[in-house]
């Protein structure tokens, strides 16, 4: 909110610190000042008044009060009330009926007769302009001026345009219409409070005036309104109508009902002085339940304990008094009376803040807490996250952080079935929550393809699925036709996590799934540990990549991190290393193309028993030289015993046994013996 430096100065006899200096001291003890700008002969300060201080500080008077406290200066408040004309009685010009006293706790009106509507004097215009308001005429300008000065929004009606001289504060009827001062039409509803006469709505309460009772050049009788409205009612109406004004902003933060009187008197006096006319006698005031000052009990021990500094009692009291609080002392307790303008103060903690900021937080010295020396527990989720990230880094993957959102375009390509939609998305780019990390990782891959080769990336993050599922997922991509490279990386990960029984199963998408499956239908495995599916490994569907205009093949694994983490273990059990030498024999076998490596391995291991320490596939070949429909596998078979050196004869026998077992299958043929 912008404030005029000259205006603030008008509250003080003493010269204020320079605008920059003022900004600095305000920032340290009251509010941050976001900008200081010169505007003609004035300076404008953009002050970020804290939301809880809006009731007393959305006004020059309020900020001046803060300055007075901080700089220990005397505040000069201008005279508020002028003379009243005894021959005119306000109540003869207007009567008030408030139908809902919760929505409108106070309604105050004054009447000024015989005004001359004209343009405002220069000083008044200048101050309005400095604060970003457009001068209109002397009456309207004075209402606005007093609002900026005191914080109380005012409204001026042409008294002769009010039917039956009667103002009614009521909720609007359904579909009741109003045309506002700026000639906009609004459809109202039952939740919106209006100021009306017996015939029509005259204004949207606390938000904007209507066109009908507008002040114009012919206006002679001004009815001034200074009212207090319920913050929720005004906030709701403002949101419903999409209409925010200087008035609604102040009302929705709450205002002191006692402020209406001070403001209306000041406005009436100014109208008399500037616009001519006589102020009719009497304040028309509907104020059934008077707002009274609160009492707050503050223990001095608590003050010092919460701030961690000993504030001298005298100083604490002095600060409160300067801020306008009443203080009564009883032993080690202060009984504090809170002025009604301080809607934000109701607890001892609120008072501690007031004392603390004026006393100066810089006087609070750093002091380590006294606490028991208990080392924190380890958060296992975070521990395993770190372990997994380190392993993948070691396996030469780059870690990526993507947004948690998917675009409409991505949703169309990857499927919307599980997507949670954002009610108020920033744009169509971020319309859904991601239900998979793959789409955005593919964007990263595509973006970097031009400049980098052999891209290997991963992300560990939350995914979201309808209706309310949120879980951590671990996903990695490799560029190129590199299924086995990624499978190796996944095995490496399992090994490091102490997971020994991972298993890759053929995966057949169900017919409902298959049309928009992200996987290549023939190159995907279900990853299982202890028989439980924890994710997928496979090549991404070429159709999908084509739609995304990614030319190369891409292989991915997509693992449920929460399952992975529960399977992981830090335990490493040492396997004794045999002291006896190992012997290696090679074995090549011709098998049908559809036969799996694991089937062959199973036979080798079963036949060889414990003495086969390892059977390592080093070549897999399908080619023209081979009979049609066949492929050749070549293994290094490592023989080793724990308790002796195997001699050549023993090894030959074992090898023969393995070959015999393999050839029990008529379609399998061991080669090159």
């Amino acid at each position: 909110m912008v404030f005029s430096y000259n205006w603030l100065q008008s509250f003080f006899k003493k010269k204020l610190p320079s605008p920059e200096k003022l900004a600095e001291i305000l920032a340290l003890q009251s509010f941050e000042v976001e900008e200081v700008a010169k505007k003609g002969k004035d300076w404008v300060l953009d002050i970020a008044v804290l939301p809880n201080r809006a009731p007393d500080c959305f006004s020059h008077l309020g900020v001046a009060r803060e300055i007075a406290v901080i700089t220990k200066s005397q505040l000069q408040v201008p005279k508020a009330k002028g003379k009243e004309e005894k021959s005119l009685l306000a109540k003869n010009f207007v009567s008030i009926e408030v139908q809902d006293k919760t929505a409108c706790p106070r309604y105050t009106a004054r009447v000024i007769k015989g005004v001359k509507v004209a343009s405002s004097p220069k000083w008044l215009k200048d101050r309005l302009i400095a604060c970003g308001l457009r001068p209109i005429n002397n009456i309207v300008d004075i209402a606005n001026y007093v609002m900026l000065d005191s914080g109380q929004p005012l409204h001026a009606f042409d008294g002769e345009k009010i039917a039956e001289k009667k103002i009614i504060v009521r909720f609007a009827k359904d579909r009741e219409k109003i045309v506002t001062l700026d000639e906009e039409k609004y459809d109202l509803d039952k939740s919106i409070l209006v100021i009306a006469d017996p015939k029509k709505a005259l204004a949207i309460a606390g938000i904007k005036g209507g066109k009908l009772p507008e002040i114009d050049k012919k206006t002679r009788v001004v009815v001034l309104e200074s009212a207090n409205f319920d913050p929720h009612v005004i906030r709701k109406a403002s949101q419903t109508l999409h209409l925010r004004t200087d008035a609604s902003l102040r009302f929705e933060h709450g205002l002191d009902p006692n402020l209406t009187e001070l403001a209306i008197n000041r406005a009436a006096l100014l109208i008399e002085q500037i616009g001519g006319g006589k102020v009719a006698q009497g304040l028309v005031d509907v104020y059934p339940k008077k707002s009274v000052e609160r009492q707050v009990r503050l223990e001095l021990h608590y003050l010092n304990s919460l701030l961690g500094v000993q504030v001298p009692k005298k100083e604490a009291k002095d600060i409160l008094v300067r801020l306008g609080f009443g203080v009564r002392e009883k032993g080690k307790v202060l009984y504090v009376t809170v002025p009604t303008r301080r809607l934000d103060v109701s607890l001892p903690e609120d008072l501690i803040e007031e004392i603390g900021r004026i006393y100066g937080y810089n006087k609070v010295k750093a002091l380590f807490p006294m606490a028991s020396l208990i080392p924190p527990k380890r958060n296992l989720n975070i521990f395993w996250e770190n372990v997994v990230k380190d392993i993948l880094k070691e396996a030469r993957f780059r870690e990526i952080y993507n947004y948690s959102f998917l675009s409409e375009e991505q949703a169309k390509i990857f499927g919307k079935e599980y997507l949670i939609e954002v009610e108020n998305p920033l744009s169509v780019e971020y319309k859904y929550l991601r239900d998979s990390l793959i789409p955005n990782l593919l964007v990263v891959l595509k973006k970097n393809q031009k400049n980098f080769k052999n891209i290997k990336i991963f992300e560990l993050g939350k995914i979201f699925k309808k209706p309310k599922l949120e879980k951590k997922q671990l996903t990695a991509l490799i560029q190129g036709d590199s299924f086995f490279q990624l499978k190796g990386a996944l095995d490496f990960l399992f090994e490091r996590l102490g997971i020994s029984d991972a298993w890759y199963d053929d995966y057949q998408a169900t017919p409902e799934d298959s049309p928009r499956s992200i996987w290549h239908p023939r190159k995907v495995a279900e990853v299982k540990v202890n028989g439980d599916e924890i994710g997928f490994l496979g090549e991404l569907s070429p159709k999908l990549l084509d739609k995304l205009e990614i030319k190369e093949r891409v292989v991915a694994f997509d693992i449920d991190f929460e399952k992975l983490e529960t399977l992981s273990s830090e335990e490493t059990i040492f396997q004794p290393v045999s002291r006896f030498p190992a012997a290696v024999r090679d074995l090549a076998i011709l098998i049908p193309q559809g036969t799996k490596v694991v089937e062959v391995l199973n036979v080798i291991n079963r036949a060889g028993g414990k003495l086969v320490r390892d059977a390592d596939l080093f070549d897999m070949y399908e080619g023209e030289e081979l009979p049609e429909g066949k492929k050749n596998l070549a293994f290094h078979i490592v023989f080793q015993a724990e308790d002796k050196t195997l001699n050549a004869k023993e090894i030959d026998q074992l090898q023969k046994k393995i070959i015999a077992a393999l050839e029990e299958n008529p379609d399998w043929q061991v080669r090159g013996r």
């Binding site: 380590f368 108020n424 955005n440």
Partner: protein, 340 residues
């Protein structure tokens, strides 16, 4: 039998040894004197034929000569080998300024690195690292934190609403509530995590970002304690001496509330473009836990005091690595990521 002149033999052998310039020549010399048929070998063999009186004397001299030649021969062998190696090396050369071949390394995202550092420092000070959901309900995100519905204070957090009735958390503060519900104080936690703000992005604003929340509750925790903990954290994190200052602020879930500024790490507080010429950088919002928060989790505010704070992880990263655009963290651009 001819007279054996061992002196002459020694002289000759010595001369030839010195003259031999390569391994082959040296080998020839060895053969000539010490080989099976070498001159000295023959002399030694012929000693048997000498009368006993002479034999002892000559034998001694001949054996001495043999040992002498052996040693000398080994020395020459070393000399020649060294010389030949030297010549070989002199012919080789490589250009040490030519570029090396870097291994393609993996990398951790800078925010992961920052988060680890933050966690490490706070864990050393006894803080437990807690987590919470990114998809929240309004009770945890707002109401329990003393931010009532239809209150202008809610406008401080621009919120993403979801069609399933939940929202995306606008801060990590809901985890204060979730943790306090399940754990009895005294306690100290930090909560790193992803948060969301419904606002337009620019070089210093993101709608998808990371925050770290802190909470310490005990019988007599003070603002002075907060200052000590956070100062220690900043010093360790930035690995340099820094100053902080606290300014009044407003958060519905803390009272008093502070804004914490740190002396600018670029200019050291003199004022520069990074700190907008103020010498200070805004670091975090903080404050003393509001009694309404204690009440919301069923604790008696009379028995407990605490501080809470929240700071942006990206801000910490930007400060540490001098990154000038927050959007880079989510760009997925390897040219950015490969620098960490």
């Amino acid at each position: 039998m001819k007279k054996i002149d061992l002196k002459l033999l020694k002289k000759q052998a010595q001369k030839e040894l010195e003259r031999a310039g390569d391994l082959r020549a040296l080998n020839e010399v060895f053969k000539r004197y010490l080989g099976k048929r070498g001159e000295l070998t023959q002399v030694l063999r012929s000693l048997e034929k000498l009368p006993k009186s002479q034999r002892l004397k000559v034998s001694k001299t001949a054996n001495e000569l043999k040992n002498f030649l052996r040693i000398r021969f080994d020395e020459r062998l070393e000399e020649i080998k060294e010389k030949e190696q030297g010549e070989k090396e002199a012919k080789e050369w490589l250009d040490v300024t030519a570029p090396g071949q870097k291994p393609q390394a993996g990398s951790l995202h800078p925010l992961t690195q920052v988060e680890r550092k933050v966690e490490e420092i706070f864990q050393v000070m006894g803080f437990y690292v807690a987590e919470g959901p990114e998809m929240e309900n309004e009770w945890y995100n707002f109401d329990a934190l003393n931010i009532p519905k239809d209150h202008p204070a809610r406008d401080m957090w621009d919120t993403f609403y979801l069609k399933n009735g939940l929202i995306l958390r606008t801060h990590t503060s809901p985890v204060q509530i979730r943790y306090l519900e399940k754990n009895q104080p005294p306690l100290r936690i930090i909560v790193p995590g992803r948060i969301f703000r419904h606002e337009a992005t620019d070089a210093s604003h993101e709608f998808n970002l990371y925050q770290v929340e802190g909470l310490m509750v005990d019988r007599e925790i003070s603002a002075a304690n907060f200052k000590a903990i956070i100062l220690e954290f900043l010093k360790r994190f930035l690995e340099k001496e820094v100053k902080i200052r606290m300014r009044p602020s407003f958060f519905p879930f803390t009272e008093p509330s502070f804004e914490v500024d740190m002396s600018c790490t670029v200019c050291g507080g003199k004022g520069c473009s990074t700190c907008g010429k103020t010498g200070w950088l805004e670091m975090m919002g903080a404050g003393m836990v509001h009694p309404a928060v204690f009440k919301a989790v069923g604790l008696n505010p009379k028995n407990w005091q605490g501080f809470a704070f929240g700071m942006g992880m990206e801000r910490l990263a930007m400060m540490k690595y001098r990154v000038n655009d927050i959007r880079l963290f989510y760009s997925g651009d390897f040219k950015f990521l490969d620098q960490f």
